[in-house]
Symmetry: C2
Subunit: 344 residues, 2 copies
DNA sequence: GTTAGCACTCGGACAAATTGAGTGCTAAAT
DNA sequence: ATTTAGCACTCAATTTGTCCGAGTGCTAAC
């Protein structure tokens, strides 16, 4: 549909605009070494590109800026692959410098390094706890009424909650109960726990424990662990450097959106397809994101997807560089974690 | 030092400026009902007040705005006590509407309500874990090499960490060891744990456990729980509404300061005196805080201070209202928590 | 000691003029 | 049939000048 020359012009416009942030005019373009025809020709081509919706003017006699459609085409077809510098690679490696003990730590560190590397905001979705398998349940009485219930998973993740223990349940009952639970539920993924308790463990409990029913619901509720992955942000203030956010109103709506977390989490969940995903501006369907793009990659252990790493930047983002970095971090993360899980 | 009339004028200037955000001129002042003398007189008085450093001009023929010294005097001597509306009280009560299970939850909720109530940013310093007393230690093996160590405190707080277990330590050793630790350390404040292990428990371990030394350091390190209280923020974006932060540069330096957390935590720790504390603008000695004031109150259980609740706003802050609200929330929080601890 | 009056200052709002980067269109050149 | 040079035109941004209003300081009268 587009001629080679139009593609060339589109690419150069977007590259230049990403670099400078300024609308690009025909004269500027004609001076580029890639371009060997006059500004008048360029003007004609630009008029066509505009008609097709790939570029826009900010006012009637201004240079052109990419439209969302333009960025979309650029991302889908025109990206010039980037190479990482030694320094970049060094920084990425530094994520894995220390021995890993806890998943969350390394995930948090990834977020920090990513924002550092890109100067945008990074968001990392930690591994979903729900797929971890139960290692141990423990209930530790605090006083007559309350106890703290603790769940340990095979990955070393610990969930805990304070619960009320009915007066009718005594310490030995509690202990017996915990033993049964541990016996029956070892290795069960957390998300199936609740179901399993009602279907398989309830019966056993009934035969062994007095008053089992008064505890059953409490226990089941406790084991009903949060479904949502934790979200880690880093570099939230990086967006404030971007010239497109010199308008305090835009900053405000963006920051509120981020602070609210819920909508943003949902958006991120839509990006769970494997590989790199890019959504540009209003494609994100979230107010406050009109001027932002979101790029995500997923990391996995073996074949199983664990989580998502993402970069949030202005639509005028260095797509090429960010994609390269995300790819690299996601793949390194996958390798390291796969290794780690195997020794677990 | 200042005459009554000067005080009156200072107070009215600050009240008006806090309300409007605009420099206050002699004509505006002379129309206030509290004021019964002419604008010329006011001009004379204002010239004096300026000379003494309580007010400033933004340019040579502008109205006056309060200086930091002015705010300081205002806060120390001129505050007109405020009454909370029914609505305010209702919101504050809503913090305590649900049954408390975990301290952190209620502390987080306080932060949310505070920012909601004031339209400024609120920060809450949670109870320091270090003063909690040990309820139970648990070590749960994950595989040959690693285990997760869990510490439960009397308040139901759970700390956990993944540790490496030397191959030479077997499961029964581990169990014995945990038993000894629990026996000897029950009720010890977390901050004293490490010390106590070396001084009192090491000997016992030596006599009962093979290879006790290879574990000792690991255990001691694990029990060396973070000293710092957790900080909860709410309403970070509220500052963006304030007209004094229409300048993106100011927003940026403030936000970076907040994101960094460390300096801000230190500042907050300086506010640990009982009762209300106010620091104004550069008194905070923190870049990014030049245009901000910080007001804090502490909450306690019985006589023991637990934590701090704080409001961060522009120097042009509604001091009176904020102080009233903080006082109320701190006292309610103290009452509820004291009660809660007693039943613990 | 207080106030009215006056000359003066400055910021903000507005309009007019200027500049420069950019466009679209047309006719000539290739 | 493309490409390009040239030209008229547009608009944002900057500069300049003007005016107004809110405010001040000072002085002389009350």
């Amino acid at each position: 549909m587009l001629t080679d020359r139009q593609l060339l012009i589109l690419q150069v416009i977007i590259d230049d605009f990403i670099r400078s942030g300024q609308p690009v005019g025909s004269r500027t373009l004609s001076k580029k070494e890639e371009i060997s025809f006059s500004s008048a020709t360029i003007r004609n081509e630009m008029a066509d590109l505009e008609e097709l919706g790939y570029i826009e003017k900010t006012h009637i006699s201004s240079g052109r800026v990419p439209s969302e459609k333009g960025y979309r085409y650029y991302v889908d077809h025109l990206l010039s692959p980037q190479r990482l510098t030694q320094e970049d690679i060094k920084k990425i490696k530094s994520i894995f410098a220390e021995r890993i003990y806890e998943l969350e730590k390394i995930v948090q560190k990834s977020a920090r390094i990513l924002s550092d590397l890109t100067n945008y905001t990074s968001i990392v979705l930690g591994p979903a706890v729900k797929d971890n398998k139960l290692k141990r349940i423990q209930i530790i009485p605090l006083n007559k009424e309350t106890a703290v219930a603790i769940i340990v998973t095979d990955t070393g993740h610990v969930e805990n909650r304070v619960i009320t223990v009915p007066a009718s349940v005594n310490a030995s009952d509690l202990e017996k109960m915990v033993n049964i639970l541990n016996e029956r539920l070892l290795g069960v993924p957390l998300i199936e726990l609740k179901d399993k308790i009602y279907k398989e463990v309830a019966n056993v409990l009934r035969t062994h424990i007095r008053n089992y029913d008064s505890m059953l619901k409490t226990i089941a509720d406790t084991l009903d662990v949060p479904q949502e992955e934790k979200m880690f942000f880093a570099g939230k203030t990086n967006m404030l450097i971007q010239p497109e956010f010199s308008d305090i109103q835009k900053v405000r709506s963006l920051m509120m959106m981020i602070e609210q977390e819920k909508d943003f989490y949902r958006l991120l969940r839509k990006h769970s397809k494997k590989g790199i995903q890019v959504t540009i501006g209003r494609e994100n369907q979230l107010s406050g994101m009109e001027n932002c793009s979101l790029i995500t990659a997923t990391y996995s252990v073996g074949e199983e997807q664990l989580g998502t790493i993402a970069i949030l930047g202005p639509t005028r983002m260095e797509y090429s560089r960010v994609i390269t970095i995300l790819n690299r971090v996601a793949s390194d993360l996958s390798t390291v974690l796969t290794d780690w899980y195997q020794n677990n």
